[in-house]
Symmetry: none
Subunit: 245 residues, 2 copies
């Protein structure tokens, strides 16, 4: 579905920004770059900044008008930093992700980014079904065009992944069982008494604190084995009166 | 709360990326930039690319070590593109936003970004409670460091804007700071050597495993004091050859 999404840069001034946008797209799995009336075509500097996203630049479609770039698209959204006097239906970047991915399942969709100095013109924005406002700090909303491409492509990819990929578990290791934990706590308590840290007459509070600490960590079997290894070694070292350091 | 978040760039090679990161931060309302051992300090090029985020560069804190930059931070996350042999608790960028904003309500937090060529080292990542994997396309995961800063700062801002609702902290206790944790790990390593559990020639893997375990628990100051009390008592018992049980 990402392949059905066109990233359209309109009247971009700096080839470096085109290279940077290509790299941003490719990191997020987008490949369809359209350049409408760029001031300069991608040059050596653009390729250097693209840092391996050369193929995106190589097969970028360069066209003289926005109309030509939008040919065949049934759903269009445009990034706009400034509020306009005539307010348009707006999407947050996050909402854009879901909406564009859904729309992409039924045909080509387009996301427009304007010129570095002035953004998209009112006429260009009027071609969009939705405006996307990236909620930057109102005191400094000067987002670089490639940075805006990066954020929106990131949200597109997140929405794309949310369609399919299962989430990995927190840890790949087998969690310790209740009885393994119970033996670990017994062992810990015994060694704390051995070293004189725990008064066996009043063990409860300290042991509860330590249980709470290790409960938060959700110990794996391997980790319980390591911790018990430390306890065993402590007892052995004590019994030999051994100090190696 | 965004003011409590430090963006820490570790060993950055290109001043242009520092300028670009400063701009990315400022568009999202973040202001605290730390530079750990940068190859070059921000130059004219960095300021040109910062495009108005000069104040962020002017007051950036430049330090020789990551330890110094983490001073006082109780919650640390690091961006990592590569999976590591020893997997760490991971956050998506979106989850990072919520978690970091919640953590920032109880003190300084840090987000680390590594060098352009190699990212964060295993040792640097071991200082983190969480790793952040930006889910880029596995066929082209070469995200520019400033682009990574842009995405994560965007998610931080989104969480900040959504965060009219207060989130309860994980524990009512004061969280341990990075330097308190660093001293604890040093102490732990020293005692593990004393009891003969750790071979000082090959400490890394075991210590990283233990760091990961305790990172998950997000230790409080009181808990660090208890654990260090156990370590001190172990050494004392050893030096007296004392076995009470």
């Amino acid at each position: 579905m990402l392949a059905s999404i066109r990233i359209i840069l309109v009247k971009t001034s700096h080839p470096g920004n085109i290279g940077s946008a290509a790299r941003a797209m490719k990191t997020m799995g987008l490949t369809n770059l359209y350049l409408v009336a760029p001031k300069q075509l991608p040059d050596a500097n653009a390729y250097a900044i693209a840092a391996g996203a050369d193929d995106i630049l190589d097969k970028a479609t360069v066209l003289p008008t926005l109309d030509a770039a939008l040919q065949g698209c049934h759903w269009v959204a445009g990034a706009s930093a400034r509020p306009r006097s005539l307010a348009w239906p707006e999407l947050t970047p996050h909402a854009l992700g879901g909406a564009a991915i859904a729309a992409a399942s039924s045909g080509p969709v387009a996301i427009l980014f304007g010129n570095e100095q002035s953004g998209l013109s009112n006429e260009e924005l009027a071609r969009c079904h939705f405006h996307i406002r990236i909620p930057s700090d109102p005191h400094f909303s000067s987002l670089n065009v490639a940075a805006a491409v990066q954020i929106l492509c990131y949200e597109l990819r997140m929405a794309f992944l949310a369609h399919s990929v299962p989430v990995a578990p927190a840890s790949a290791e087998t969690p310790a069982t209740s009885d393994e934990l119970a033996h670990f706590y017994q062992h810990l308590e015994q060694v704390l008494v051995e070293i004189g840290f725990l008064n066996p007459a009043y063990p409860k509070h300290l042991m509860r604190r330590l249980r709470r600490l290790y409960a938060r960590a959700q110990l794996s079997q391997t980790e319980v084995n390591i911790l018990r290894g430390i306890l065993t070694e402590t007892t052995r070292a004590l019994s030999q009166g051994m100090v190696t350091a």
